[in-house]
């Protein structure tokens, strides 16, 4: 938890530092009586809408953008803002409508059944060619987000398949610690593939008695 506190603290510190530097920039540049270039006044009215427009698109990533509701609420926001000439009215109206639509129509949004992680069906695979999530190559940074997105439970074991020819134990440990444990999936287990007698590649968990040097050593549950 202390880690988390430190992280949030440093994130806020970063936000503050960047914001303050931006605000102080003109004072640093023109403070000593420098000449203000004329283009500055011209781009002022142009560059801000571009940035804000980009931010609107960006903010949709945390909304249910596949449903029509955010678009409806967006229209309501503009309408309320223009009607009442008050930014607060627009924000409250739009947000309230969005929240209402989302909770009312929640049943209309198809909800995928949360997938189960199992030794036969491990969501994450680590090998020499990198990391794959459900058969698709990804960068490690994306793994926590994808696990969250697909609804894997943090309460249940999470199976990670390690290719037999992959023996970089340190990298495995780092991956698990930085991307799996830290995202709250503390019950991960390593799984190794084994060639069965019939020649088909089956996926079997290591026997419980065999302790792997990099097995999960964290206490399970509390």
């Amino acid at each position: 938890m202390a880690e988390k506190v430190l992280y949030v603290f440093s994130a806020i510190a970063v936000g503050w530092a960047v914001t303050f530097l931006l605000r102080a920039l003109p004072f640093l540049v023109f403070g000593s009586g420098g000449e203000k270039p004329r283009w500055l006044g011209r781009i002022d009215g142009f560059i801000s809408p571009v940035i804000i427009g980009g931010l609107i698109v960006y903010s949709f990533s945390s909304l249910e953008w596949r449903t029509p509701w955010p678009y409806v609420a967006l229209a309501a926001t503009v309408a309320a803002y223009l009607a009442f000439r008050n930014s607060l009215a627009g924000i409250i109206a739009g947000t309230a409508l969005y929240m209402a639509l989302l909770s009312l129509a929640g049943c209309m949004v198809p909800v995928e059944a949360a997938p189960e992680s199992s030794a036969r069906n491990p969501p994450v695979r680590v090998g020499r060619s990198g990391i794959a999530f459900r058969g698709r190559h990804v960068v490690p940074d994306d793994v926590p987000r994808l696990l969250e997105k697909h609804g894997y439970s943090r309460e249940k074991p999470l199976h990670i398949l390690v290719d037999d020819d992959y023996d970089d134990k340190r990298a495995l440990w780092v991956f698990k610690h930085n991307y799996i444990d830290r995202a709250g999936y503390t019950k991960s287990v390593w799984v190794h593939s084994q060639k069965g007698a019939s020649g088909t590649v089956g996926i079997l968990p290591k026997a419980d008695g065999v302790k792997m040097p990099y097995q999960n050593t964290r206490s399970r549950g509390r």
Partner: protein, 173 residues
Amino acid sequence: MIGYVTMGFAAGVLFSAKIDVPCAALFSALLAASCLSGTLSFAIVPPIASSAGLGEIALLTLAINFRYALYGVPMVDRWRGVPLLRKWFLIHALSDEIFALNVSCRIRRPETNVLYCTCNGVFCLAYWVAGSTLGAMAGKALPIPSKGIEFAMTALFMVIFTEQMKGLFLKNG
């Protein structure tokens, strides 16, 4: 004033709903006091919640608050000769609304004008912090349905965007 407290409240509720950290109210207050940027207070929450890298947060802040780099321009001459510490505070408290108030201030005497700007900053900062803290406390204590509250950020952007569009078209047309 009402606007500041309410927006801060919404930001606080969002913060405590999405980020699982002890003393969320304290952090929400810290965020409000240090950044004093409504947009950032909303936008920084999703990356923190998903434990994004600090570089990513810095980049996001840079993109969102880039407009602040332009706010200082008209203030450079006006605040020339203000003691350094006070100037730092004035710069720190240069948010959208405060900038709008400061710019439209018609007081001619430099001392009074700076005093006006300072009071502006102090009060807005106080309202903003109070709103954020109360919001985070309320979000933790009450079962406020927080599903969908992320839209407040989009709505805020949309309102700013509409305002800018209006300004742009009224100026040109």
